[in-house]
């Protein structure tokens, strides 16, 4: 009898990276950077992981994801102004509002694939961005939604202020851990495997009985909700929300982060990519204002020569080691 096949919930790479992130506030200022950068990296790492559920895992090219991130940011601010000043409540409203926007978009695009899917996501992204700019009475238009508070974290028995960057960093880290764990489980669940199958062969998936569009819609809704959660954290970090994160080029940044990091081959690729993006911005940005030119060029080089991204380079090294190892299992009688 064959044994069941399980994927561990926690991996050593996962625990090591969490532990690494936990140490960041202790040394980030010593290396000449600043605490807020850590917050930005973790928020965008969360966002890129959520985005990669759609791009890398489901193979759906979404170029309008900024909309969901931005909607989360606005919803967080509006919830604390109008509904209640409770952190959990406002975060939940942000995630749910973004998920609802995702569901609305999914209704229109889940029967599409490839370039049509991509174009429709751009179109919807632009609509949301345009609305954010024009709906001045709700979003503050181009002036943005200001004076969003970093609400204190209430855990029942105690209350933690998140006003300082270090405490907010640890809160964002906790959310990042939850989101990455959730997405990791999802990637190896029946739902996640079916989505992965649909990415590889939509036709076959239908002919073995799957309602493909429902899975594609569900993936977008989950991804949008988590992107909205990241957006809410960004509104907290910035203590404001602006329409620029919803623009097409911000939507492009998350695609870039995901691809540079290696989201197409690795679960953790988007995290690497988000880190690389902000470090490039600050380190190359300190030398030249044209940092995006250099980052863009490295993106071009990477896509041309190593489309699997930074994570793909590591995977290349480890798989070469694996190939050198003696073959496992029964000896093969046939020559291949």
């Amino acid at each position: 009898m064959a044994a069941g096949r399980t994927v561990p919930t926690f991996t050593s790479a996962m625990l090591l990276s969490w532990a690494f992130f936990a140490t960041v506030p202790f040394w980030i200022e010593q290396v000449g950077l600043y605490q807020y950068l850590g917050i930005e990296i973790l928020i965008f790492a969360t966002y890129a992981l959520a985005f990669n559920l759609v791009l890398g895992h489901a193979g759906l090219p979404s170029f309008g994801h900024g909309a969901f991130f931005g909607i989360g940011a606005y919803a967080f601010g509006l919830a604390q102004f109008n509904v209640g000043r409770n952190l959990w409540l406002c975060l939940a409203i942000a995630a749910l509002t973004a998920a609802a926007a995702g569901a609305l978009v999914a209704l229109f695009i889940s029967h599409r694939r490839g370039i049509y899917y991509a174009l429709l996501t751009i179109a919807f992204g632009q609509i949301f961005w345009f609305v954010a700019i024009k709906a001045h009475s709700i979003t503050g238009g181009e002036d943005g939604l200001l004076k969003i508070e970093r609400l204190p974290l209430s855990l029942g028995f105690t209350r933690v202020e998140l006003a300082s960057n270090v405490s907010l960093y640890y809160f964002v880290l906790a959310i990042f851990i939850c989101v990455s764990l959730l997405l990791w489980r999802l990637a190896h669940s029946p739902f996640g495997r079916i989505v992965k199958a649909i990415k590889q062969n939509e036709t076959r998936a239908r002919f073995v009985g799957y309602d493909v569009w429902r899975y594609k819609a569900a993936v977008l809704v989950i991804s949008a909700g988590l992107s909205g959660l990241a957006g809410a954290l960004f509104a907290m970090a910035q203590t404001s929300a602006f329409p620029d994160v919803m623009s097409l080029h911000y939507s492009g940044y998350v695609v870039m982060m995901t691809l540079v990091g290696g989201g197409l081959v690795s679960f953790w690729g988007p995290v690497i990519g988000a880190g690389a993006f902000f470090l490039a911005r600050d380190v190359i940005g300190a030398l030249t204002t044209g940092w995006m030119l250099w980052f863009g060029l490295s993106f071009v080089v990477l896509v041309l020569f190593k489309p699997e991204g930074i994570a793909g380079m590591f995977a290349g090294i480890t798989s070469r080691e694996r190939k050198a190892a003696p073959p496992r299992g029964k000896p093969q009688l046939q020559a291949r």
Partner: protein, 247 residues
């Protein structure tokens, strides 16, 4: 009544009539064949029967139920599986997962976003059973795209078998296979025959005539003859065409 019936199917693409008045019936437990020259409408016919195209007219019945115009996934869930002439696999999955993903057990848990996909022993056993049947159990952990051509053809059938069908459509299962591969495939089909109802589209007459209980000949989008292999050999049209050149 036959397990699967098609009544007077018509289908046009633009001004081209692809299927004209096609009626077919497949009896439970039998192996039926469909032959015909290139472009005769065989694969199109399969595509109508399995829900890929909607016929302009006509009805399709499975197990006494009208399934005309239903989607492929609905028809698949009723117990109709198919393989494809052009390889249609989950290339990045292992051989095991290609089969496991198609099992009804996995499908039933498709809404579960947090549980383990293949932790269930019974599910893994079931997948291995299917792989044993097609002779791929010892390659379960290989990536599907790394398999040699003949093994991919077998996996193509395994994925269809995994969905536990009552009726299995095989679209040119021998396409691209050499004589060894064809012989192995014939053995496999012979094994499956009797376990489930099978319908095969084939080019290779020898292969089909040795296996099928009855055969329908399609040409110009019409069924022009139907009968047992023996009866068909005497058919003047089959005799006149290349199809009749059998030993």
């Amino acid at each position: 009544m036959a397990l699967f019936e098609a009544h007077e199917l018509h289908l046009r693409f633009g001004d081209r009539v692809v299927l004209e008045n096609v009626s077919l019936s497949f009896e439970a437990g039998r192996l039926s064949g469909i032959i015909g020259p290139n472009g005769a409408g065989k694969t199109t016919c399969f595509n109508v029967l399995t829900g890929r195209y909607k016929p302009d007219r006509g009805r399709v019945l499975f197990d006494g139920r009208d399934i005309t115009g239903r989607s492929p996934q609905q028809i698949a869930r009723l117990g109709v599986a198919r393989s494809f002439q052009i390889m249609t696999l989950f290339d990045e999955f292992s051989v095991f997962e290609n089969v496991a993903i198609a099992l009804p057990k996995t499908r039933a848990r498709g809404h579960d976003p947090l549980g383990q996909a293949y932790a269930d022993h019974a599910l893994v056993d079931e997948a291995y059973d299917v792989l044993e049947k097609v002779g791929l159990a010892d390659r379960a952990d290989d990536e599907a795209k790394s398999l040699p051509y003949g093994a991919r053809r077998a996996l193509e059938i395994a994925v269809a078998l995994a969905s536990r069908p009552k009726l299995l459509f095989l679209d040119e299962p021998t396409a691209g296979l050499g004589s060894d591969g064809r012989a192995r495939l014939a053995d496999l089909v012979r094994k499956l025959k009797g376990i489930l109802t099978i319908v095969i589209i084939e080019h290779d007459m020898e292969f089909l005539f040795s296996l099928a209980d009855d055969i329908s000949v399609i040409h110009w989008g019409q069924v022009i003859a139907r009968g047992t292999p023996a009866a068909l050999k005497a058919n003047p049209w089959v005799e006149a065409s290349n199809l009749g050149r059998l030993n």
